[in-house]
């Protein structure tokens, strides 16, 4: 266990953000304020169909800002999609990016910003602090309450040829402003609400137990856990309740601020490995791994895990069991095997997870064998 000392140097980076009803409509004003003349509006087809890309477009038009829509983005965005977007960005002579959507369009938009301003392949930026050319102004409008890419220094891009997820970590890609509007969350289907909610919980838990956590991140992590565990089941029951949706959005914001600065741990390292190999939903991977990683890590940060368990509540004895019970109440009852993961794939998955930068801040220095065992438990 890494000893913590509150006098250790810590940094806290957060973008400007506006939260509340109608935040989305401010997109045009901020685009203009950032000097954007031609915007690349990065979204996906689902968000477009739900009308949220159109709402942002209206706001831009009203502000007299031109834009080009780029929506050729899949879940777990591919490096090829990023490069196509960067080509569009350059060809259309854009000078700013607005992204409206979940984690996939937001991560893709960050990638487009990096590749568009450096004119290099996005996969070359894998790792920490590799982005040196400032990216164009980026406005994020999240339509899910999960990824928190709208406040984080992370962009996760899938290297489709090598079937792995690449983490790009840099303060340079923290968005310039995040517009947190609960309204777009109301069109999220139940499954997406559940998965993104579990992603939020994983962010909060991992940030809180991270060996890079700080008093500042602790406040946000704990508040995220408190907000999410109470609001998420209610929001699922009342998907159009703006107050409940807003609470999940706030939970995601707190979790995002916490993990962007304290980073994550084994859950995300292992989920990235899974998502790269199987193209599974990121939130679902986290949901299936979280309790097993908590159990494996418990000894390294027991007091912190106990605190988490206390917030979640319930009759179970360990924090991991309480998290497991929580996900079951959300309807997540399968295992990794049911999601298609094969036992013989575990060593490769573990090796990839071991090399993931998120593993560095896990409270316990897991060996490959330990990681394999966790996958095994989750199977």
């Amino acid at each position: 266990m890494i000893p913590r000392n509150q006098l250790d140097l810590r940094k806290f980076v957060a973008p400007e953000f506006i939260c509340g009803r109608g935040a989305l409509e401010l997109a045009g004003r901020y685009a203009r304020n950032f000097g954007m003349k031609q915007v690349l509006l990065v979204t996906d087809r689902g968000v477009r169909a739900a009308g949220w890309a159109g709402a942002v477009a209206d706001s831009l038009t009203e502000a007299g800002v031109s834009f080009t829509v780029f929506d050729a983005i899949s879940p777990n965005p591919r490096s090829r999609q990023v490069m196509v977007g960067a080509e569009v960005y350059v060809a259309e002579e854009c000078n700013g990016i607005i992204t409206v959507g979940g984690g996939s369009p937001m991560d893709c938009a960050k990638g487009i910003g990096i590749a568009g301003s450096s004119r290099r392949d996005i996969l070359g930026f894998e790792g920490i602090d590799r982005v040196s050319v400032p990216t164009p102004p980026l406005i994020c409008i999240p339509t899910t309450a999960g990824s928190s890419a709208d406040v984080s220094q992370f962009a996760i891009i899938t290297d489709e040829t090598r079937k792995r997820k690449v983490a790009i970590v840099s303060k340079m890609i923290v968005p310039d402003i995040s517009l947190l509007d609960p309204e777009p969350l109301t069109t999220m289907p139940r499954e997406l609400t559940v998965d993104t909610g579990m992603d939020t919980l994983s962010h909060a838990v991992e940030a809180y137990v991270s060996n890079a956590s700080s008093p500042m991140t602790d406040v946000h992590a704990l508040e995220a856990i408190r907000l999410l565990t109470s609001a998420l089941p209610a929001a699922i029951a009342e998907p159009e309740n703006l107050d409940l949706r807003f609470s999940t959005l706030l939970a995601s914001l707190h979790a995002g601020l916490a993990f962007s600065n304290a980073s994550l741990g084994a859950v995300h390292a292992m989920a990235h490995s899974l998502g790269g190999a199987y193209d599974l939903s990121h939130g679902r991977c986290n949901a299936l791994l979280l309790e097993h990683v908590m159990a494996a890590n418990y000894g390294a940060a027991s007091d912190r895990y106990d605190r988490i368990g206390a917030i979640i509540g319930g009759g179970e004895t360990t924090p991991a069991e309480r998290v497991a019970a929580f996900r079951r109440t959300l309807g997540i009852t399968e295992t990794l095997a049911a999601a298609g993961v094969r036992e013989d794939a575990i060593p490769a998955l573990a090796a990839a997870a071991y090399a993931d930068p998120c593993m560095v801040t896990n409270p316990h220095n897991l060996t490959c064998e330990e990681i394999e065992r966790i996958y095994d438990d989750a199977l």
């Binding site: 400032p134 890079a212 560095v360």
Partner: protein, 378 residues
Amino acid sequence: MHSDPPDDRDALREKIIGLGETSLHKSYYPELQNRLAELERFRALLDQTYDAIFLIHAETGMLADVNATVSAFLGYSKKELLKKSFIDLVAEQRKARFIEYVRKRSDLVSGSRQTCTTVLVSRDGTEIPMEITVREVTFSGKRYVTAIAQDITERLLAERELRIKESALESSTNGILIADPTGAVMYANRSFAAMFGCEEASALTGRNLEAFFADPAVGGEITAHLLDDHAIVREAVGLREGGSPFHIQVSGSTVLNDAGQPLCIMLIVMDITERILAEQLRRETYAQLGKNIEQFAILGDHIRNPLQVIVGYAEMIDDPFAEKILDESRRIDGFITELDRGWLRSANVRQFLLKHGDGSSSARKIRFRFLNVKEEDS
């Protein structure tokens, strides 16, 4: 199994926390500073140019920006200039024409370049003739006109000087021909064309100068000589367009560049047919004159010889007529002596013959004879 050195993981962790050397929040300021420095450098370059550069609002005609050269030319500060419209700077008498020019071209495709000349007036009233290249450009959705003006005062003076020289060449009564070092004609003046029976001087351009000599080799010789020696004066037989030959005198020189290499050759051609004919006539006249004098001397001898015989006889006989015969003989001898003397006296003629005679033997004999007479006479 994987096992990174702990140092590596620690360094990575430091960076994730944000304590790495380059763990920086996005800032455009360093880039902004670079760009500003770049702009300043560019501005300095623009200010260094000899061209006056104006950026004009297309809608209003007001100056949006100027380089330092504009201030240097016109004597207004940049601040003063930015309150003026471009037309304010155009000389009063040229304003209407300039406005007309701009109006006519206002429907041109954006980005096309146009050049005109006008006169700008400086603060102290000095009029500066300028050649102005204008082009419409769009920056950030706003239309502007860039005008790049060059002071053409010196160029106009040089053009005037050149025109004077050109018309002097053109109007010369001598034929003037300029050819490149290969002998190809670049220019021929009116007199040259007329001399060679050609109506249009320009029609001669491109021909080789060999074509103007009865013997084409002469043209080549002259060119070769000029490239070697840089000057030549010689007579030759020219060939007219119609094929008729005529006598010419050619004075040639080579024009060299700064490096001393020949740029072109220039020939000044005079029609000397009349002079050649006159010389021929003179030569023939002198030859005839020489022959006549010789015959005249022989005639004198033919008279004197029988006269001496007559005098001899008359002295020997005693006859009242003898004295009469002697008197008449002396008179005749006197006439001949007088004639000889008359020739001697005409020293001008003698000198002329000595100088310009063709040197034939008869003339020398006559001179000898006259000298004899002179000796006898004195």
